[in-house]
């Protein structure tokens, strides 16, 4: 089963690229990219069960906590792409991770649930409750998502960090695009997908 952001991510990745997937879960996206793009992939994951499943699926998985930083593990420019798929919102210091990502790879690909999505705004702004949706299924008191943001939040962080946005895509849960979505992405995009790199000064 593909998650909503996979097709777009796959479309952005070159054949035979070296790819690091941070917070790779059981490695499903890596497997997808190996099948579709023949990438050479490495996954990083902290959870025992998921690491074991990734290893059993014949993937290269490094068990480590992203909150401890990734710079220790990899040299500069070790990868063509570093992915953080649906993970950045659960990281203690997302801004540090973004910087480290672009040290070790020429490009980063970041996907996250958009807090600015209209249903989220409706639930918070009108109903006055923390949103729970398909993209954000957990209640506020028990969620790994500690750093939720909107498209505008993310873009302003990138600006501050000297990160250039090469591509942006937004989709709803059903991976549909629409004129409305394209016109007002921060309202109608449920998931955001960014391709980024260090701004060349």
């Amino acid at each position: 089963m593909n998650r909503p952001d996979w097709d777009i991510v796959t479309g952005w990745i070159r054949e035979d690229a070296r790819v690091l997937d941070l917070g790779c879960g059981d490695g499903a996206l890596l497997r997808h990219l190996i099948a579709k793009r023949s990438v050479r992939g490495v996954g990083m994951e902290v959870d025992d069960e998921r690491v074991a499943r990734g290893v059993a699926a014949d993937l290269n998985i490094i068990q480590a906590d992203l909150d401890d930083g990734i710079r220790d593990w990899f040299g500069q420019h070790s990868f063509d792409y570093v992915l953080v798929s649906q993970t950045i919102q659960a990281i203690r210091r997302p801004e540090r991770l973004l910087g480290e990502m672009l040290d070790i790879a020429s490009e980063g690909i970041v996907t996250f649930p958009n807090m600015g999505y209209w249903r989220n705004r409706w639930q918070l702004g009108v109903q006055g409750m923390m949103p729970t949706t398909k993209a954000l299924p957990n209640p506020w008191y028990n969620t790994p998502n500690i750093h939720l943001c909107t498209l505008r939040d993310f873009e302003s962080l990138c600006e501050g960090l000297g990160i250039e946005i090469l591509d942006r895509a937004v989709v709803d849960q059903n991976r549909r695009s629409s004129p409305l979505l394209r016109a007002l992405p921060n309202w109608f995009g449920e998931h955001a997908i960014y391709r980024i790199r260090k701004r060349v000064v």
């Binding site: 074991a52 014949d58 290269n60 490094i62 070790s78």
Partner: protein, 397 residues
């Protein structure tokens, strides 16, 4: 580096229970190709004692070499006699249906050269003198061992191991295999190891050696000729080793401050359970291990440092390796801590090698690598399942 210290080994009892390789018998290979050692000396011919479990398939591509640690030997699984109290030292992982599944793999475990369990070592006769080598046995390195294991591999009709696997000092042999014979090893499984010993590690080894060497019964290593055994020294060395193989937590959980007789005696006899345990481990070790071999093994540990020949760059040292790697460490292992395994993983990643790394939450310290910890065995099993699958696919082509 040690045998399992579990009071009640999880696998025990009858020999024919499911999952056991059953009764096994050691074999001896006499190798008459001279072995040139790192120390500059030569061994003209030598014996290697080994055990095998499972069957070598027709393509001879299902062989797995198990490398033992400091005090281990060739008896990794099964029992020699039905009445044996304990099975081989890694019986938890090797057997039918176990992570290293003997229904699919042909598993080989060798008593390393310099050992005291039948392979040529200090207890063997020196052909030059006709007397046991004793302290005159050449100092060996991990690379010397790997070269001798390579000779055995050819003798067994194997040109490439599906995997070479080992924990602790055994893990160092695995790394050396990947460096020395890249074409002869498809997968390298390096468990609770380090790319070289730390100063602290060498210090522990030195205290162990001094305990043995300063024992009045040591007689400069010629104790056999004097009809003596440096019991106290070897026992102290083993006791020290055991402290470092366990974690503080494991010791607390196992013994706490429990007293044998329920109250303090105000004396120097055994009072605390931990003292009793250590003395038992020490004395039983003396009965099954040779002091000169212990000295040799600790030196091999101290000398291992593949990066030393590559400008102290481990990535360069590992560059020749073509094997895929699985590296495993245990959180409470302070003798070969996860930090040391990460050095190995980083070096492999730096040159784009294929590597997976699992850091297993365990309270047992260094000894954890011998324990059937569910997550640890799940990872091992998954990894070996893949190896088996690749063999089948290659065979079909």
């Amino acid at each position: 580096m040690s045998e399992s210290t579990a009071k009640n080994p999880p696998v025990g009892g009858a020999t024919h229970q499911p999952g056991s390789v059953g009764l096994v018998e050691p074999q001896t290979a006499h190798i008459d190709t001279p072995l040139l050692l790192d120390c500059g000396r030569r061994i003209e011919e030598y014996d290697l004692v080994y055990e095998t479990y499972g069957e070598l398939n027709a393509r001879a591509d299902n062989a797995v070499l198990i490398c033992h640690a400091l005090s281990g030997d060739h008896h990794a699984a099964g029992r020699h006699r039905p009445e044996d109290r304990k099975p081989g030292w890694w019986d938890t992982a090797i057997g039918p249906g176990k992570p290293i599944d003997t229904d699919r793999f042909f598993v080989v475990c060798v008593n390393n050269l310099g050992g005291c369990k039948g392979s040529t070592g200090p207890l063997s006769d020196n052909p030059e003198t006709g007397r046991p080598y004793g302290p005159d046995f050449p100092i060996l390195t991990v690379r010397d061992w790997v070269n001798s294991q390579h000779a055995l591999m050819r003798r067994l009709g194997i040109s490439r191991w599906a995997a070479v696997t080992g924990g602790s000092l055994g893990g160092m042999q695995v790394m050396q295999w990947a460096i020395s014979y890249p074409e002869a090893i498809a997968h390298a499984v390096v468990i609770a190891a380090a790319p070289k010993l730390s100063a602290q590690n060498i210090a522990f080894n030195e205290v162990a050696r001094q305990a043995i060497i300063t024992d009045p019964d040591f007689h400069d290593g010629r104790y056999a000729e004097h009809g003596a055994i440096p019991r106290r020294g070897l026992m102290l060395a083993r006791m020290l080793g055991h402290i470092t193989y366990l974690s503080d937590d494991a010791m607390r959980a196992k013994f706490g401050r429990e007293l044998r007789s329920g109250k303090v005696q105000y004396g120097f006899d055994v009072e605390f359970q931990v003292e009793s345990y250590l003395r038992y481990q020490g004395t039983s070790f003396v009965d099954r291990f040779d002091a000169n071999t212990y000295l040799l093994m600790t030196k091999a540990l101290d000398y291992f440092d593949p990066a030393a020949e590559a400008d102290d760059d481990l990535a360069t040292a590992l560059a020749p390796a073509t094997a895929r790697f699985l590296v495993v460490s245990f959180t409470s292992d302070w003798r070969f801590s996860p930090v040391r395994s990460k050095e190995i993983v980083r070096a492999l990643l730096a040159t784009g090698k294929s590597v997976s790394y699992a850091e297993v939450e365990a309270h047992q310290g260094h000894d954890a690598f011998l324990m059937p910890i569910p997550y640890y065995h799940q990872v091992l099993r998954g990894y070996f399942d893949n190896i088996a699958r690749t063999m089948t696919e290659e065979g079909v082509e």
